[in-house]
Protein backbone atom coordinates (compact mmCIF):
# COMPACT_ATOMS: atom_id res chain seq x y z
CA UNK A 1 0.00 0.00 0.00
CA UNK A 2 1.19 3.47 -0.83
CA UNK A 3 1.75 5.58 2.24
CA UNK A 4 -1.09 7.84 3.24
CA UNK A 5 -0.66 11.24 1.60
CA UNK A 6 -2.27 14.24 3.23
CA UNK A 7 -1.08 16.98 0.87
CA UNK A 8 -3.35 18.95 -1.38
CA UNK A 9 -1.58 18.36 -4.70
CA UNK A 10 -2.97 15.08 -6.11
CA UNK A 11 -1.34 15.27 -9.53
CA UNK A 12 1.80 17.24 -10.28
CA UNK A 13 3.14 17.12 -13.84
CA UNK A 14 6.44 18.94 -14.33
CA UNK A 15 7.87 19.70 -17.76
CA UNK A 16 6.46 16.55 -19.34
CA UNK A 17 7.67 15.85 -22.87
CA UNK A 18 6.53 12.95 -24.96
CA UNK A 19 7.96 11.82 -28.27
CA UNK A 20 6.42 8.89 -30.08
CA UNK A 21 8.77 6.41 -31.78
CA UNK A 22 7.75 7.88 -35.16
CA UNK A 23 9.23 11.23 -34.02
CA UNK A 24 5.93 12.94 -33.30
CA UNK A 25 6.32 15.44 -30.45
CA UNK A 26 3.03 14.78 -28.67
CA UNK A 27 3.59 16.73 -25.44
CA UNK A 28 5.70 19.86 -25.30
CA UNK A 29 6.91 20.65 -21.77
CA UNK A 30 3.51 20.35 -20.14
CA UNK A 31 3.27 21.34 -16.47
CA UNK A 32 0.10 21.27 -14.40
CA UNK A 33 -0.96 20.72 -10.81
CA UNK A 34 -4.32 19.25 -9.89
CA UNK A 35 -5.53 19.58 -6.34
CA UNK A 36 -7.52 17.25 -4.13
CA UNK A 37 -11.24 17.05 -5.03
CA UNK A 38 -10.70 19.24 -8.07
CA UNK A 39 -12.46 18.53 -11.35
CA UNK A 40 -10.23 19.49 -14.27
CA UNK A 41 -11.49 19.31 -17.83
CA UNK A 42 -9.03 19.16 -20.72
CA UNK A 43 -10.24 20.37 -24.12
CA UNK A 44 -8.58 20.95 -27.45
CA UNK A 45 -8.76 19.94 -31.11
CA UNK A 46 -8.08 16.31 -32.00
CA UNK A 47 -4.39 15.53 -32.11
CA UNK A 48 -3.64 18.21 -29.55
CA UNK A 49 -2.13 15.71 -27.10
CA UNK A 50 -4.89 15.88 -24.49
CA UNK A 51 -5.48 12.12 -24.46
CA UNK A 52 -1.74 11.49 -24.45
CA UNK A 53 -1.40 13.80 -21.43
CA UNK A 54 -4.19 11.93 -19.63
CA UNK A 55 -2.59 8.59 -20.41
CA UNK A 56 0.76 9.67 -18.98
CA UNK A 57 -1.00 10.18 -15.63
CA UNK A 58 -1.37 6.41 -15.12
CA UNK A 59 1.61 5.52 -17.29
CA UNK A 60 -0.34 3.96 -20.13
CA UNK A 61 2.14 6.24 -21.93
CA UNK A 62 5.60 6.69 -20.46
CA UNK A 63 7.01 10.21 -20.66
CA UNK A 64 10.16 10.97 -22.62
CA UNK A 65 11.28 13.48 -20.00
CA UNK A 66 9.80 15.32 -17.05
CA UNK A 67 8.26 14.19 -13.79
CA UNK A 68 4.82 13.16 -12.63
CA UNK A 69 3.83 12.84 -8.99
CA UNK A 70 0.57 11.09 -8.18
CA UNK A 71 -0.93 11.35 -4.72
CA UNK A 72 2.48 12.22 -3.28
CA UNK A 73 4.28 9.35 -5.03
CA UNK A 74 6.81 10.17 -7.75
CA UNK A 75 5.82 7.92 -10.67
CA UNK A 76 9.31 7.39 -12.07
CA UNK A 77 11.11 6.83 -8.77
CA UNK A 78 12.90 3.50 -8.64
CA UNK A 79 10.99 2.23 -5.60
CA UNK A 80 7.56 3.04 -7.07
CA UNK A 81 5.53 0.01 -8.13
CA UNK A 82 3.48 1.21 -11.09
CA UNK A 83 0.81 -1.43 -10.51
CA UNK A 84 0.28 -0.18 -6.97
CA UNK A 85 0.19 3.40 -8.20
CA UNK A 86 -2.42 2.50 -10.83
CA UNK A 87 -4.70 1.16 -8.10
CA UNK A 88 -4.96 4.79 -6.91
CA UNK A 89 -5.89 6.05 -10.38
CA UNK A 90 -9.08 4.83 -12.03
CA UNK A 91 -9.50 5.26 -15.77
CA UNK A 92 -12.56 5.36 -18.03
CA UNK A 93 -12.02 4.93 -21.76
CA UNK A 94 -13.77 6.24 -24.83
CA UNK A 95 -14.42 2.68 -26.05
CA UNK A 96 -15.54 1.40 -22.59
CA UNK A 97 -13.13 -1.56 -22.81
CA UNK A 98 -15.35 -3.78 -20.70
CA UNK A 99 -14.25 -7.39 -20.52
CA UNK A 100 -16.69 -9.07 -22.93
CA UNK A 101 -16.26 -12.57 -21.53
CA UNK A 102 -17.46 -11.57 -18.07
CA UNK A 103 -20.78 -10.50 -16.64
CA UNK A 104 -21.27 -6.94 -15.40
CA UNK A 105 -20.71 -8.01 -11.80
CA UNK A 106 -17.58 -9.99 -12.71
CA UNK A 107 -16.22 -7.00 -14.63
CA UNK A 108 -16.51 -4.88 -11.51
CA UNK A 109 -15.26 -7.54 -9.09
CA UNK A 110 -12.28 -8.93 -10.98
CA UNK A 111 -9.58 -6.38 -10.21
CA UNK A 112 -10.40 -5.89 -6.51
CA UNK A 113 -10.37 -9.67 -6.06
CA UNK A 114 -7.17 -10.36 -7.96
CA UNK A 115 -5.20 -7.20 -7.24
CA UNK A 116 -6.33 -5.87 -3.88
CA UNK A 117 -6.82 -9.29 -2.27
CA UNK A 118 -9.93 -8.14 -0.48
CA UNK A 119 -12.42 -10.77 0.66
CA UNK A 120 -14.97 -11.93 -1.89
CA UNK A 121 -17.85 -10.90 0.32
CA UNK A 122 -16.60 -7.37 0.84
CA UNK A 123 -15.78 -6.96 -2.86
CA UNK A 124 -19.20 -8.21 -3.93
CA UNK A 125 -21.06 -5.93 -1.51
CA UNK A 126 -18.96 -3.01 -2.73
CA UNK A 127 -19.53 -3.92 -6.40
CA UNK A 128 -23.29 -4.19 -5.91
CA UNK A 129 -23.34 -0.83 -4.12
CA UNK A 130 -21.37 0.80 -6.95
CA UNK A 131 -23.62 -0.70 -9.63
CA UNK A 132 -26.62 0.55 -7.70
CA UNK A 133 -25.03 3.98 -7.57
CA UNK A 134 -24.66 4.06 -11.37
CA UNK A 135 -28.22 2.74 -11.73
CA UNK A 136 -27.44 -0.74 -13.06
CA UNK A 137 -28.25 -3.05 -10.16
CA UNK A 138 -30.78 -4.84 -12.37
CA UNK A 139 -28.19 -5.69 -15.03
CA UNK A 140 -25.49 -7.35 -12.93
CA UNK A 141 -25.93 -10.79 -14.52
CA UNK A 142 -25.87 -9.41 -18.08
CA UNK A 143 -22.90 -9.54 -20.39
CA UNK A 144 -21.54 -6.26 -21.83
CA UNK A 145 -22.85 -7.16 -25.30
CA UNK A 146 -26.37 -7.01 -23.90
CA UNK A 147 -26.02 -3.41 -22.69
CA UNK A 148 -26.40 -0.06 -24.42
CA UNK A 149 -23.40 2.24 -24.79
CA UNK A 150 -24.44 4.44 -21.91
CA UNK A 151 -24.93 1.42 -19.67
CA UNK A 152 -21.54 0.03 -20.67
CA UNK A 153 -19.83 3.29 -19.81
CA UNK A 154 -21.55 3.39 -16.43
CA UNK A 155 -20.34 -0.16 -15.74
CA UNK A 156 -16.84 0.98 -16.75
CA UNK A 157 -17.05 3.82 -14.21
CA UNK A 158 -18.22 1.39 -11.50
CA UNK A 159 -15.39 -0.96 -12.45
CA UNK A 160 -12.81 1.79 -12.03
CA UNK A 161 -14.37 2.91 -8.72
CA UNK A 162 -14.25 -0.65 -7.38
CA UNK A 163 -10.50 -0.25 -6.84
CA UNK A 164 -11.29 2.67 -4.47
CA UNK A 165 -9.12 5.11 -6.40
CA UNK A 166 -8.32 8.61 -5.20
CA UNK A 167 -8.17 9.97 -8.75
CA UNK A 168 -10.37 9.26 -11.76
CA UNK A 169 -9.26 9.86 -15.34
CA UNK A 170 -11.88 10.08 -18.11
CA UNK A 171 -10.69 9.81 -21.71
CA UNK A 172 -13.54 11.18 -23.85
CA UNK A 173 -16.10 9.09 -21.93
CA UNK A 174 -19.09 10.24 -23.99
CA UNK A 175 -17.57 10.46 -27.49
CA UNK A 176 -18.59 6.95 -28.52
CA UNK A 177 -22.15 7.29 -27.24
CA UNK A 178 -25.41 7.98 -29.04
CA UNK A 179 -26.54 11.51 -28.13
CA UNK A 180 -29.45 10.36 -25.96
CA UNK A 181 -27.07 8.40 -23.72
CA UNK A 182 -24.57 11.16 -23.04
CA UNK A 183 -26.69 12.60 -20.24
CA UNK A 184 -26.83 9.45 -18.10
CA UNK A 185 -23.02 9.14 -18.13
CA UNK A 186 -22.47 12.82 -17.39
CA UNK A 187 -24.92 12.56 -14.48
CA UNK A 188 -22.85 9.78 -12.93
CA UNK A 189 -19.71 11.88 -13.39
CA UNK A 190 -21.38 14.90 -11.79
CA UNK A 191 -22.41 12.92 -8.74
CA UNK A 192 -18.86 11.61 -8.51
CA UNK A 193 -17.57 15.18 -8.61
CA UNK A 194 -20.02 16.14 -5.86
CA UNK A 195 -18.64 13.28 -3.73
CA UNK A 196 -15.27 15.03 -3.81
CA UNK A 197 -13.42 12.78 -6.27
CA UNK A 198 -10.34 14.25 -7.94
CA UNK A 199 -11.13 14.04 -11.65
CA UNK A 200 -9.35 14.78 -14.90
CA UNK A 201 -11.73 14.68 -17.85
CA UNK A 202 -10.83 14.89 -21.52
CA UNK A 203 -14.06 15.74 -23.29
CA UNK A 204 -15.81 17.73 -25.98
CA UNK A 205 -18.78 18.40 -23.68
CA UNK A 206 -18.37 22.13 -23.15
CA UNK A 207 -21.57 22.24 -21.09
CA UNK A 208 -20.10 19.76 -18.63
CA UNK A 209 -16.86 21.76 -18.49
CA UNK A 210 -18.68 25.00 -17.73
CA UNK A 211 -21.01 23.44 -15.18
CA UNK A 212 -18.82 21.01 -13.26
CA UNK A 213 -15.17 21.89 -13.83
CA UNK A 214 -13.12 23.79 -11.28
CA UNK A 215 -10.56 24.50 -13.96
CA UNK A 216 -10.38 23.99 -17.71
CA UNK A 217 -7.17 23.25 -19.62
CA UNK A 218 -6.78 24.02 -23.32
CA UNK A 219 -4.20 22.09 -25.31
CA UNK A 220 -3.12 22.49 -28.91
CA UNK A 221 -0.31 20.75 -30.81
CA UNK A 222 1.09 19.26 -27.61
CA UNK A 223 1.23 22.54 -25.73
CA UNK A 224 -0.80 23.46 -22.65
CA UNK A 225 -1.91 26.97 -23.62
CA UNK A 226 -4.62 27.84 -21.08
CA UNK A 227 -5.24 26.73 -17.49
CA UNK A 228 -8.16 28.79 -16.12
CA UNK A 229 -11.38 28.78 -14.13
CA UNK A 230 -14.36 28.01 -16.41
CA UNK A 231 -15.92 31.48 -16.30
CA UNK A 232 -12.68 33.10 -17.46
CA UNK A 233 -12.00 30.24 -19.88
CA UNK A 234 -15.31 30.53 -21.69
CA UNK A 235 -16.30 34.18 -21.24
CA UNK A 236 -12.91 35.79 -21.43
CA UNK A 237 -10.63 33.44 -23.40
CA UNK A 238 -7.08 34.55 -22.56
CA UNK A 239 -5.47 33.12 -25.72
CA UNK A 240 -6.34 33.88 -29.36
CA UNK A 241 -6.12 30.19 -30.33
CA UNK A 242 -8.58 29.27 -27.58
CA UNK A 243 -10.87 32.01 -28.86
CA UNK A 244 -10.72 30.50 -32.32
CA UNK A 245 -11.29 26.97 -30.95
CA UNK A 246 -14.31 28.05 -28.90
CA UNK A 247 -15.82 29.85 -31.86
CA UNK A 248 -15.63 26.56 -33.78
CA UNK A 249 -17.12 24.25 -31.14
CA UNK A 250 -19.71 26.47 -29.42
Amino acid sequence: MIKEYQGNDMIVAENVDKYYPNGCHALKTVSATIHRAEVVVVVGPSGSGKSTFLRTLNQLETVSSGNITIDGTPMYAKETDINQLREEVGMVFQGFNLFPHMSVLENVMLAPLKVSKRTKREVEDHARALLKKVGLESRIENFPSQLSGGQMQRVAIARALAMKPNIMLFDEPTSALDPEMVGEVLDVMKSLANDGMTMVVVTHEMGFAREVADRVLFMEEGELLVNEKPDVFFDNPPHPRLEKFLSQVL
Partner: protein
Protein backbone atom coordinates in the same frame (compact mmCIF):
# COMPACT_ATOMS: atom_id res chain seq x y z
CA UNK B 1 -39.41 -12.34 -53.88
CA UNK B 2 -36.81 -14.51 -52.24
CA UNK B 3 -36.50 -17.86 -53.95
CA UNK B 4 -36.19 -20.88 -51.67
CA UNK B 5 -34.57 -23.93 -53.23
CA UNK B 6 -36.69 -27.08 -53.37
CA UNK B 7 -35.14 -28.97 -50.47
CA UNK B 8 -36.57 -32.36 -51.32
CA UNK B 9 -35.23 -32.17 -54.87
CA UNK B 10 -31.69 -31.17 -53.90
CA UNK B 11 -31.45 -33.71 -51.11
CA UNK B 12 -32.55 -36.32 -53.62
CA UNK B 13 -29.89 -35.07 -56.02
CA UNK B 14 -27.25 -35.36 -53.28
CA UNK B 15 -28.30 -38.94 -52.61
CA UNK B 16 -28.13 -39.71 -56.33
CA UNK B 17 -24.59 -38.32 -56.61
CA UNK B 18 -23.42 -40.32 -53.58
CA UNK B 19 -25.00 -43.51 -54.91
CA UNK B 20 -23.39 -43.04 -58.32
CA UNK B 21 -19.98 -42.56 -56.66
CA UNK B 22 -20.52 -45.77 -54.71
CA UNK B 23 -21.60 -47.58 -57.84
CA UNK B 24 -18.60 -46.39 -59.80
CA UNK B 25 -16.34 -47.74 -57.05
CA UNK B 26 -18.05 -51.10 -57.43
CA UNK B 27 -17.66 -50.92 -61.22
CA UNK B 28 -14.02 -49.92 -60.91
CA UNK B 29 -13.23 -52.86 -58.64
CA UNK B 30 -15.06 -55.18 -61.03
CA UNK B 31 -13.04 -53.88 -63.96
CA UNK B 32 -9.83 -55.04 -62.23
CA UNK B 33 -11.56 -58.22 -61.10
CA UNK B 34 -11.16 -57.49 -57.42
CA UNK B 35 -13.02 -59.71 -55.00
CA UNK B 36 -14.11 -57.90 -51.88
CA UNK B 37 -13.49 -59.93 -48.74
CA UNK B 38 -14.66 -57.72 -45.90
CA UNK B 39 -14.95 -60.72 -43.60
CA UNK B 40 -11.17 -61.07 -43.61
CA UNK B 41 -10.85 -57.73 -41.83
CA UNK B 42 -12.94 -58.72 -38.83
CA UNK B 43 -10.32 -60.84 -36.99
CA UNK B 44 -7.90 -57.93 -37.30
CA UNK B 45 -10.37 -55.66 -35.57
CA UNK B 46 -11.54 -58.05 -32.84
CA UNK B 47 -9.57 -61.23 -32.42
CA UNK B 48 -11.86 -64.04 -31.19
CA UNK B 49 -9.35 -66.82 -31.59
CA UNK B 50 -9.59 -69.24 -28.60
CA UNK B 51 -6.86 -68.96 -26.00
CA UNK B 52 -4.87 -72.11 -25.33
CA UNK B 53 -4.18 -73.38 -21.80
CA UNK B 54 -0.83 -75.06 -21.27
CA UNK B 55 0.21 -77.70 -18.75
CA UNK B 56 2.39 -76.05 -16.11
CA UNK B 57 4.45 -79.16 -15.34
CA UNK B 58 4.83 -82.82 -16.24
CA UNK B 59 2.05 -85.00 -14.85
CA UNK B 60 -1.10 -86.99 -15.39
CA UNK B 61 -4.33 -85.38 -16.55
CA UNK B 62 -7.62 -86.47 -15.02
CA UNK B 63 -11.01 -85.45 -16.38
CA UNK B 64 -13.94 -84.90 -14.04
CA UNK B 65 -17.09 -86.99 -14.47
CA UNK B 66 -18.88 -84.48 -16.71
CA UNK B 67 -15.66 -83.74 -18.65
CA UNK B 68 -15.72 -80.04 -17.70
CA UNK B 69 -12.68 -79.90 -15.46
CA UNK B 70 -9.16 -81.09 -16.10
CA UNK B 71 -7.01 -81.89 -13.08
CA UNK B 72 -3.29 -82.17 -13.68
CA UNK B 73 -1.48 -84.14 -11.02
CA UNK B 74 2.25 -83.58 -11.01
CA UNK B 75 4.64 -86.51 -10.91
CA UNK B 76 6.66 -85.19 -8.01
CA UNK B 77 3.67 -85.24 -5.62
CA UNK B 78 3.03 -81.46 -5.44
CA UNK B 79 -0.49 -80.00 -5.23
CA UNK B 80 -2.61 -80.92 -8.30
CA UNK B 81 -3.95 -78.02 -10.39
CA UNK B 82 -7.43 -77.93 -11.86
CA UNK B 83 -8.66 -76.07 -14.92
CA UNK B 84 -12.20 -75.55 -16.18
CA UNK B 85 -14.52 -73.63 -18.53
CA UNK B 86 -12.84 -74.93 -21.66
CA UNK B 87 -14.56 -74.77 -25.02
CA UNK B 88 -12.42 -77.61 -26.25
CA UNK B 89 -10.42 -80.15 -24.22
CA UNK B 90 -7.32 -81.57 -25.90
CA UNK B 91 -6.41 -84.32 -23.41
CA UNK B 92 -8.06 -87.61 -22.49
CA UNK B 93 -8.60 -89.04 -19.04
CA UNK B 94 -5.35 -90.45 -17.69
CA UNK B 95 -3.16 -88.95 -20.41
CA UNK B 96 0.42 -88.19 -19.63
CA UNK B 97 1.09 -84.48 -20.13
CA UNK B 98 4.36 -82.63 -20.27
CA UNK B 99 5.12 -79.04 -19.38
CA UNK B 100 3.94 -76.80 -22.21
CA UNK B 101 1.43 -79.21 -23.69
CA UNK B 102 -1.91 -77.76 -24.69
CA UNK B 103 -4.58 -79.17 -22.43
CA UNK B 104 -7.48 -77.22 -23.90
CA UNK B 105 -8.65 -73.89 -25.23
CA UNK B 106 -10.94 -71.26 -23.82
CA UNK B 107 -13.08 -68.79 -25.70
CA UNK B 108 -11.55 -65.33 -25.59
CA UNK B 109 -11.53 -62.00 -27.41
CA UNK B 110 -8.83 -59.40 -27.79
CA UNK B 111 -8.41 -56.20 -29.77
CA UNK B 112 -6.98 -56.97 -33.16
CA UNK B 113 -3.95 -55.18 -34.58
CA UNK B 114 -6.01 -52.48 -36.31
CA UNK B 115 -7.79 -51.42 -33.12
CA UNK B 116 -4.51 -51.63 -31.21
CA UNK B 117 -3.06 -49.33 -33.85
CA UNK B 118 -6.03 -47.01 -33.37
CA UNK B 119 -5.24 -46.84 -29.65
CA UNK B 120 -1.59 -46.04 -30.38
CA UNK B 121 -2.66 -43.31 -32.79
CA UNK B 122 -5.01 -41.93 -30.14
CA UNK B 123 -2.28 -42.03 -27.49
CA UNK B 124 0.39 -40.37 -29.59
CA UNK B 125 -2.08 -37.73 -30.81
CA UNK B 126 -3.27 -36.90 -27.30
CA UNK B 127 0.24 -36.68 -25.86
CA UNK B 128 1.38 -34.53 -28.80
CA UNK B 129 -1.70 -32.33 -28.55
CA UNK B 130 -1.08 -31.53 -24.89
CA UNK B 131 2.60 -30.73 -25.45
CA UNK B 132 1.87 -28.83 -28.66
CA UNK B 133 -0.50 -26.54 -26.76
CA UNK B 134 1.98 -26.01 -23.91
CA UNK B 135 4.97 -25.34 -26.21
CA UNK B 136 2.77 -23.36 -28.60
CA UNK B 137 1.44 -21.13 -25.83
CA UNK B 138 4.96 -20.38 -24.65
CA UNK B 139 6.31 -19.74 -28.17
CA UNK B 140 3.24 -17.68 -29.10
CA UNK B 141 3.71 -15.45 -26.04
CA UNK B 142 7.42 -15.19 -26.77
CA UNK B 143 6.60 -14.07 -30.33
CA UNK B 144 4.78 -10.98 -29.06
CA UNK B 145 7.21 -10.34 -26.21
CA UNK B 146 9.24 -7.15 -26.28
CA UNK B 147 12.37 -9.09 -25.35
CA UNK B 148 14.47 -9.43 -28.54
CA UNK B 149 15.98 -12.77 -27.49
CA UNK B 150 12.60 -14.41 -26.90
CA UNK B 151 11.09 -12.76 -29.96
CA UNK B 152 13.77 -13.82 -32.41
CA UNK B 153 14.26 -17.29 -30.97
CA UNK B 154 10.55 -18.02 -31.26
CA UNK B 155 10.44 -16.58 -34.78
CA UNK B 156 13.39 -18.79 -35.77
CA UNK B 157 11.67 -21.81 -34.24
CA UNK B 158 8.45 -21.19 -36.14
CA UNK B 159 10.26 -20.59 -39.43
CA UNK B 160 12.50 -23.66 -39.13
CA UNK B 161 9.68 -26.00 -38.16
CA UNK B 162 7.25 -24.70 -40.74
CA UNK B 163 9.89 -24.66 -43.43
CA UNK B 164 10.89 -28.32 -43.16
CA UNK B 165 8.80 -31.42 -43.88
CA UNK B 166 7.35 -33.28 -40.92
CA UNK B 167 8.67 -36.56 -42.28
CA UNK B 168 12.23 -35.21 -42.19
CA UNK B 169 11.66 -33.86 -38.69
CA UNK B 170 10.49 -37.28 -37.52
CA UNK B 171 13.66 -38.86 -38.94
CA UNK B 172 15.82 -36.23 -37.25
CA UNK B 173 14.01 -36.71 -33.95
CA UNK B 174 14.32 -40.48 -34.13
CA UNK B 175 17.77 -40.97 -35.60
CA UNK B 176 19.60 -37.94 -34.22
CA UNK B 177 17.89 -36.61 -31.10
CA UNK B 178 16.53 -40.05 -30.25
CA UNK B 179 19.99 -41.54 -30.39
CA UNK B 180 21.66 -38.73 -28.47
CA UNK B 181 19.06 -38.68 -25.69
CA UNK B 182 18.34 -42.41 -25.89
CA UNK B 183 14.60 -41.97 -26.58
CA UNK B 184 12.30 -44.85 -27.38
CA UNK B 185 10.44 -44.59 -30.68
CA UNK B 186 7.12 -43.54 -29.16
CA UNK B 187 8.75 -40.65 -27.28
CA UNK B 188 10.71 -39.57 -30.35
CA UNK B 189 7.59 -39.70 -32.52
CA UNK B 190 5.46 -37.82 -29.99
CA UNK B 191 8.21 -35.23 -29.54
CA UNK B 192 8.49 -34.66 -33.29
CA UNK B 193 4.72 -34.29 -33.63
CA UNK B 194 4.51 -31.95 -30.61
CA UNK B 195 7.30 -29.71 -31.83
CA UNK B 196 5.82 -29.63 -35.32
CA UNK B 197 2.25 -28.85 -34.26
CA UNK B 198 3.48 -26.36 -31.62
CA UNK B 199 4.86 -24.09 -34.34
CA UNK B 200 1.41 -23.83 -35.90
CA UNK B 201 -0.32 -23.57 -32.52
CA UNK B 202 2.06 -20.73 -31.62
CA UNK B 203 1.06 -18.78 -34.72
CA UNK B 204 -2.63 -19.39 -34.00
CA UNK B 205 -2.21 -18.21 -30.40
CA UNK B 206 -0.17 -15.18 -31.47
CA UNK B 207 -2.77 -14.07 -33.99
CA UNK B 208 -5.52 -14.75 -31.46
CA UNK B 209 -3.85 -12.55 -28.85
CA UNK B 210 -3.15 -9.83 -31.39
CA UNK B 211 -6.78 -9.87 -32.49
CA UNK B 212 -7.87 -8.73 -29.00
CA UNK B 213 -8.21 -4.92 -29.02
CA UNK B 214 -5.37 -3.07 -27.25
CA UNK B 215 -7.97 -1.40 -25.03
CA UNK B 216 -8.51 -4.67 -23.17
CA UNK B 217 -4.90 -4.79 -22.01
CA UNK B 218 -5.00 -1.06 -21.20
CA UNK B 219 -8.19 -1.43 -19.17
CA UNK B 220 -6.71 -4.35 -17.25
CA UNK B 221 -3.43 -2.54 -16.58
CA UNK B 222 -5.23 0.66 -15.59
CA UNK B 223 -7.00 -1.35 -12.85
CA UNK B 224 -3.62 -2.25 -11.36
CA UNK B 225 -3.24 -5.73 -12.81
CA UNK B 226 0.27 -6.73 -13.80
CA UNK B 227 1.06 -8.11 -17.26
CA UNK B 228 0.63 -11.74 -16.22
CA UNK B 229 -2.71 -11.13 -14.49
CA UNK B 230 -3.99 -9.18 -17.49
CA UNK B 231 -2.94 -12.02 -19.80
CA UNK B 232 -4.41 -14.79 -17.65
CA UNK B 233 -7.73 -13.16 -16.75
CA UNK B 234 -8.44 -10.89 -19.70
CA UNK B 235 -6.50 -11.55 -22.89
CA UNK B 236 -6.01 -15.33 -23.02
CA UNK B 237 -9.63 -16.30 -22.24
CA UNK B 238 -10.84 -14.10 -25.09
CA UNK B 239 -8.04 -15.21 -27.42
CA UNK B 240 -8.77 -18.85 -26.58
CA UNK B 241 -12.35 -18.48 -27.71
CA UNK B 242 -11.32 -16.85 -30.98
CA UNK B 243 -8.65 -19.44 -31.71
CA UNK B 244 -10.90 -22.45 -31.16
CA UNK B 245 -11.89 -22.95 -34.83
CA UNK B 246 -8.33 -22.75 -36.26
CA UNK B 247 -7.07 -24.74 -33.28
CA UNK B 248 -9.57 -27.50 -34.02
CA UNK B 249 -8.29 -27.62 -37.60
CA UNK B 250 -4.73 -27.89 -36.31
CA UNK B 251 -5.63 -30.72 -33.93
CA UNK B 252 -7.33 -32.60 -36.76
CA UNK B 253 -4.17 -32.13 -38.82
CA UNK B 254 -2.18 -33.48 -35.89
CA UNK B 255 -4.22 -36.68 -35.81
CA UNK B 256 -3.77 -37.14 -39.54
CA UNK B 257 -0.06 -36.24 -39.44
CA UNK B 258 0.46 -38.84 -36.74
CA UNK B 259 0.20 -41.45 -39.49
CA UNK B 260 3.73 -40.41 -40.50
CA UNK B 261 5.25 -41.83 -37.32
CA UNK B 262 4.68 -45.26 -38.84
CA UNK B 263 7.97 -44.68 -40.70
CA UNK B 264 9.89 -45.10 -37.45
CA UNK B 265 8.09 -48.39 -36.78
CA UNK B 266 5.54 -47.15 -34.30
CA UNK B 267 2.61 -49.51 -34.79
CA UNK B 268 -0.03 -46.85 -35.15
CA UNK B 269 -3.18 -47.20 -37.20
CA UNK B 270 -1.35 -46.74 -40.51
CA UNK B 271 1.47 -49.15 -39.69
CA UNK B 272 -1.09 -51.68 -38.43
CA UNK B 273 -2.95 -51.25 -41.71
CA UNK B 274 0.21 -52.01 -43.68
CA UNK B 275 0.86 -55.12 -41.59
CA UNK B 276 -2.70 -56.34 -41.97
CA UNK B 277 -2.56 -55.85 -45.74
CA UNK B 278 0.38 -58.22 -45.95
CA UNK B 279 -1.50 -60.73 -43.79
CA UNK B 280 -4.85 -60.60 -45.56
CA UNK B 281 -4.07 -59.61 -49.15
CA UNK B 282 -7.14 -57.39 -48.88
CA UNK B 283 -5.58 -53.94 -49.32
CA UNK B 284 -8.74 -52.16 -50.44
CA UNK B 285 -10.78 -53.28 -47.46
CA UNK B 286 -7.98 -52.53 -45.02
CA UNK B 287 -7.28 -49.02 -46.27
CA UNK B 288 -10.96 -48.14 -46.43
CA UNK B 289 -11.30 -49.36 -42.84
CA UNK B 290 -8.24 -47.39 -41.73
CA UNK B 291 -9.57 -44.25 -43.42
CA UNK B 292 -12.92 -44.72 -41.71
CA UNK B 293 -11.25 -45.06 -38.31
CA UNK B 294 -9.25 -41.85 -38.86
CA UNK B 295 -12.51 -40.20 -39.83
CA UNK B 296 -14.09 -41.38 -36.57
CA UNK B 297 -11.23 -39.82 -34.57
CA UNK B 298 -11.24 -36.50 -36.39
CA UNK B 299 -15.03 -36.38 -36.48
CA UNK B 300 -15.25 -36.95 -32.73
CA UNK B 301 -12.72 -34.18 -32.16
CA UNK B 302 -14.50 -31.62 -34.28
CA UNK B 303 -17.77 -32.53 -32.60
CA UNK B 304 -16.16 -31.93 -29.19
CA UNK B 305 -14.83 -28.56 -30.30
CA UNK B 306 -18.24 -27.55 -31.64
CA UNK B 307 -19.74 -28.44 -28.27
CA UNK B 308 -17.11 -26.31 -26.51
CA UNK B 309 -17.70 -23.41 -28.89
CA UNK B 310 -21.42 -23.50 -28.22
CA UNK B 311 -20.83 -23.51 -24.47
CA UNK B 312 -18.50 -20.52 -24.73
CA UNK B 313 -20.87 -18.53 -26.91
CA UNK B 314 -22.93 -17.49 -23.87
CA UNK B 315 -21.31 -14.02 -23.66
CA UNK B 316 -21.88 -13.13 -27.33
Amino acid sequence: MEKTPNKLFWHGALLAVLLSIAYSIVLASQSIEYTWRWERIVPYLINTEPKAEYAPFDGVATLSADSSTVIVEPENGDMPQSYDSFTEIMVGDGDLVFEGDVIGSKSDWRLGPILNGLIVTLQISLVSLVFAVLIGLFVGLARISSNPLLKHLSLLYVEVIRGTPLLVQIFIFYFFIGTVLDLDRFTAGAAALSVFAAAYVAEIIRSGIQSIPAGQMEAARSLGMNYVQAMVYIILPQAFKRTLPPMAGQFINLIKDSSLVSVISITDLTKAGREVVSGTFAPFEVWFTVALLYLVLTGALSWLVKLLERRMASSD
